[in-house]
């Protein structure tokens, strides 16, 4: 892995007892609600898109409360890439599996007729919802957050000497 994984930006983190306590209480409930919405999207309102977003927002809340840097070291880059790419791979895999069984892309009823899985259509849909869309959305929400937090460091030309970039004038957002 690359040595320059840490970007060296100053973390705008302030420890707040109120936010810490609130997030500690709320986070298990939001995570459970996101999982419920994902797993029950077939029979109740909601679905994997909303559920995945709520699961991702739970991680964002933790990052707000405990600081972005510790959260990012806890969730490695490979985990996030695995979430996003794995979701797409599962979705494609289900679609190609039905083609391999002799049907069209995502023709779920072949799980029932060829493989003999009871309620094959339902389970095929659950597979792409839970294993595909939920993973993609949760992963992309988290990765957008981390990528935005890392920010943009303009590439300097090699010929120019390195200059300090910490002399920026900003309005503090601590109020």
């Amino acid at each position: 892995m690359a040595d320059r994984n840490t970007t060296g930006y100053e973390d705008t983190y302030t420890e707040s007892q109120v936010i810490l306590t609130a997030v500690k209480i709320i986070a298990p409930f939001t995570l459970t609600y996101g999982m419920f919405m994902t797993l029950h999207g077939a029979d109740t309102p909601g679905g994997s898109f909303q559920g995945g977003a709520i699961i991702g927002v739970t991680v964002l809340m933790l990052a707000f409360a405990f600081g972005i840097e510790p959260t990012r070291q806890w969730l490695k880059n490979s985990v996030l890439v695995g979430l996003v790419a794995g979701g797409v791979a599962i979705f494609v895999g289900v679609g190609l599996a039905t083609i391999a069984l002799g049907g069209a892309f995502l023709e779920y009823r072949l799980f029932d007729t060829v493989l003999g899985i009871p309620d094959g259509t339902k389970w095929g849909m659950e597979a792409i919802e839970v294993g595909g869309i939920a993973l993609i959305v949760a992963g992309v929400v988290i990765t957008l957050f981390f990528a935005t937090a890392a920010g943009f460091t303009p590439q300097r030309r090699r010929s120019r000497p390195e200059r300090e970039t910490n002399d920026r004038t900003e309005v503090s957002d601590d109020d």
């Binding site: 690359a2 994984n5 970007t7 930006y9 705008t12 919405m37 999207g41 077939a42 029979d43 109740t44 309102p45 909601g46 679905g47 898109f49 909303q50 977003a53 709520i54 991702g56 927002v57 964002l60 990012r72 880059n77 890439v81 996003v84 790419a85 979701g87 797409v88 979705f91 494609v92 679609g95 892309f105 995502l106 779920y108 309620d119 259509t121 339902k122 849909m125 792409i128 919802e129 595909g132 869309i133 993609i136 959305v137 992963g139 992309v140 929400v141 990765t143 957008l144 957050f145 981390f146 990528a147 935005t148 937090a149 890392a150 920010g151 943009f152 590439q155 900003e170 309005v171 957002d173």
Partner: protein, 179 residues
Amino acid sequence: MSAVAYTLAIFILLAAVATALFRDVLSAIVVFGAYSLGMAILYTFLLAPDVAMTEAAIGAGVTTILLLLTIARTTRPSTDKLFESVNVPAVVVCGAFVLVLTIQLLPEMYAVGDPDAPVWSNPEVTQAYLEQTYDDTGVQNAVTAVLAAYRGFDTFGEAVVVFAAGIATLLVLKREVFA
């Protein structure tokens, strides 16, 4: 439409106007989150809970957090003025546009829950899906059935669009890892 729904609609309009007018970026972001939350409640009133959940999770949740993070990572210009200066001709043109659309279109719309509305009393499309969904797929939520089964290929495209958004962020920020 009940009194609560009218109150919600007025709240949404006020929040939208305030988002456009506030000069401070942080205030605009907070009011924009409130606007999304109002929209989510209004969707619930219109009996579209799936859309309402999406609006609440994405509109009020993720968008607000990402915008807040953006002003934390960039600069936030400090101003003494509360509101932006209003461009009167633009407001007149936009207001006339909205007024004409309202006068022309609102009387044409069917009331919420009207059984004669074409989107509902449509034996070939809406009613057919509602009747066939459970027999075809075995799931009770017709919205999920349409999204994942009847138009599964489109949903696959949408999932890949979300995937591409993550990749595009890396490209724009010129990074190789999500960190």
